[in-house]
């Protein structure tokens, strides 16, 4: 874990409001587990706190992030130019635990795909990938996965299945062997809640990557907690005990 200086080598809009950011790190990052994240100091002085982003890809010396513009920080980041310097605190948190199953079902909802991209790459043939988004313009988010089969859904039906990615999975669920599978998911809270509903009956194992506002990303401030079923200590830090949690242990 380290705070590494980097230089932006690419910051392109890949779909409306979505960007792919490549940062050339001045030092190698420690080995990472998919699901881990970084804290980026946004160039300029208008953004005070760092912002968390999943490790989308890392091939020394290039760290790739994918982000959606949702507020001030990502807005300013989207205007950063090539060669600008950034500081990246990385790798952080606890990634997906991949020692358990033979078959993984991976779900990415919208920009949530950024949280599972490195995971999908690492799992290769061991996984079935589901991606849901609003409309076909956002399919650009999975362009990098071109060589892998991805089942896609769009809310407006402009591509693939019409509906949410969880509805799509729900249709296919019967085709998987429940005893051998585990679901790994990242996406908006509504998606994770819907996922919970369809997995509840069989209590299929599931790990989810959660997001929370963060100040430090290091477990120092206890600002980024999520509520869990642990009665003695319900609030766990997303940045330290997470961002990946067992779906059945969190209260969404």
């Amino acid at each position: 874990m380290d705070d590494i200086e980097g230089k932006i080598t690419k910051n392109d809009e890949v779909a409306p409001g979505y960007y792919l950011l490549r940062i050339k790190l001045s030092r190698p990052m420690d080995p990472f587990v998919p699901g881990q994240f970084v804290m980026v100091r946004i160039p300029g002085k208008d953004v005070f706190l760092r912002r968390p982003f999943s490790i989308y890809d890392y091939r020394q010396p290039v760290l790739t992030l994918m982000y959606k513009v949702v507020g001030k920080g990502t807005e300013i980041l989207s205007k950063s130019r090539k060669n600008e310097k950034v500081f990246v605190l990385c790798p952080l948190g606890k990634g997906f635990n991949l020692r358990r199953r033979k078959h993984y079902v991976v779900l990415g909802g919208g920009i949530g795909i950024a949280g599972v991209h490195a995971l999908i790459r690492r799992l290769g043939a061991r996984s079935s990938v589901f991606f849901g988004c609003a409309a076909k313009e956002e399919l650009a988010l999975i362009k990098d996965l071109g060589d892998l089969p991805v089942a896609a859904s769009t809310l407006d039906g402009s591509y693939g299945f019409r509906g949410t990615v969880v509805e799509l999975l729900s249709e296919r669920l019967a085709t998987f062997r429940k005893e051998e599978m585990e679901v790994l998911a990242c996406g908006p809270v509504v998606m994770l809640k819907a996922l919970r509903r369809i997995l509840e009956k069989d209590r299929i194992p599931c790990q989810v990557l959660l997001e929370e506002r963060m100040a430090c990303g290091l477990g120092l401030c206890f600002g980024c907690v999520t509520k869990t079923v642990d009665e003695a200590e319900p609030y766990k830090r997303v940045c330290k005990e997470g961002p990946v949690f067992d779906l059945w242990e969190v209260c969404l």
């Binding site: 506002r213 100040a215 206890f222 600002g223 609030y235």
Partner: protein, 300 residues
């Protein structure tokens, strides 16, 4: 070569730089980046007799160059701290200051009683001013009589020096400090966060109410440090928006014997080691024999 070491309550710290309570977790979390022995002393997260769960999220919010937090004093309780986390400080021989709080006088007292003197424990830091938690609406730091009572009671049950950590009570600060001083307090930490709030204009909601920290606090904290350090013959520890060496020097010159760095660590996790290094270089540059020589030089 100038020395950074300072003497606080009879103990020698290798430098005057501490973390601010609640901003360096339980200490171990920063170890992947730098060793906690870098600190003059580690200040614990606010501890209480019983564990506390804290507030729901959002707990942190950016507001200009300030941070609003509403952690709500989540902590494992004083006993678990000493069982699980204190051994690290023993192993690394790092002095600690135990920040603690209570929701009743009894809780303060019981918590203080639990902490046995140890050569690594420099002081107990009483958080008299937590604007985040409102049990029965009482805040001990509000009223001089309450402050007097609680400080006296805590002093009665412990041999460890006691520091009162005050909130920016602006005009009453001196009165509150006087009450603590008369009750036998051994030092002050200034300041805690200022109550603040955010309005979400789109949603017409208040996403967070909490305590404001960071650079915006600095000029207010400097004023408080100068005022209190010139009024009472006990050490003042300065806190509030210290981001770099220059800020650290400002606080020392305003009369602080030691410093606490909080929010800065979130922006740059190496802020503390950089400040320690920067102070060392400053001593060299100004050919001072000791950091103590600059304490209070601006605010005499």
């Amino acid at each position: 070569m100038g020395s950074l070491s300072v003497k606080l309550f009879g103990k020698t710290l290798r430098n005057p730089v501490m973390n601010a309570s609640g901003t360096l977790g339980y200490g171990r979390e920063i170890e992947p980046l730098w060793g906690i022995e870098t600190l003059g002393a580690y200040v614990t997260k606010g501890l209480s007799l019983n564990p506390h769960h804290g507030n729901p999220t959002p707990r942190v919010w950016e507001e200009g160059r300030g941070l609003i937090n509403s952690i709500g004093l989540q902590n494992v309780g004083v006993d678990r701290f000493f069982d699980e986390h204190f051994p690290l400080f023993q192993q690394k021989r790092t002095p600690i200051i135990v920040n603690f709080f209570g929701f009743t006088e009894e809780e303060y007292i019981a918590c203080a009683e639990r902490i046995r003197p140890d050569r690594l424990i420099v002081a107990l830091e009483m958080n008299l001013s937590c604007p985040n938690v409102k049990r029965g609406g009482i805040s001990f730091g509000k009223d001089p009589d309450l402050v007097h009572g609680i400080v006296k009671a805590v002093k009665g049950v412990t041999e460890i020096p006691v520091i009162a950590k005050l909130t920016p009570e602006v005009k009453n600060l001196k009165e509150i400090a006087q009450a603590a001083y008369e009750a036998g307090v051994d030092g002050f930490t200034l300041l805690n966060t200022i109550p603040a709030m955010v309005v979400d204009v789109e949603k017409r909601t208040i996403p967070i109410r909490g305590g404001l920290s960071g650079p915006v606090l600095k000029p207010v904290a400097l004023k408080a440090v100068c005022e209190i350090s010139t009024s009472f013959p006990v050490p003042v520890i300065g806190a509030g928006g210290i981001m770099n060496q220059n800020d650290a020097l400002s606080f020392l010159m305003a009369g602080a014997k030691a410093l606490q760095v909080g929010t800065a660590t979130f922006i740059d996790p190496y802020a503390i080691p950089k400040i320690v290094k920067g102070l060392g270089e400053y001593l060299k540059r100004c050919r001072c024999s000791s950091i103590n020589a600059i304490v209070g030089t601006a605010c005499g």
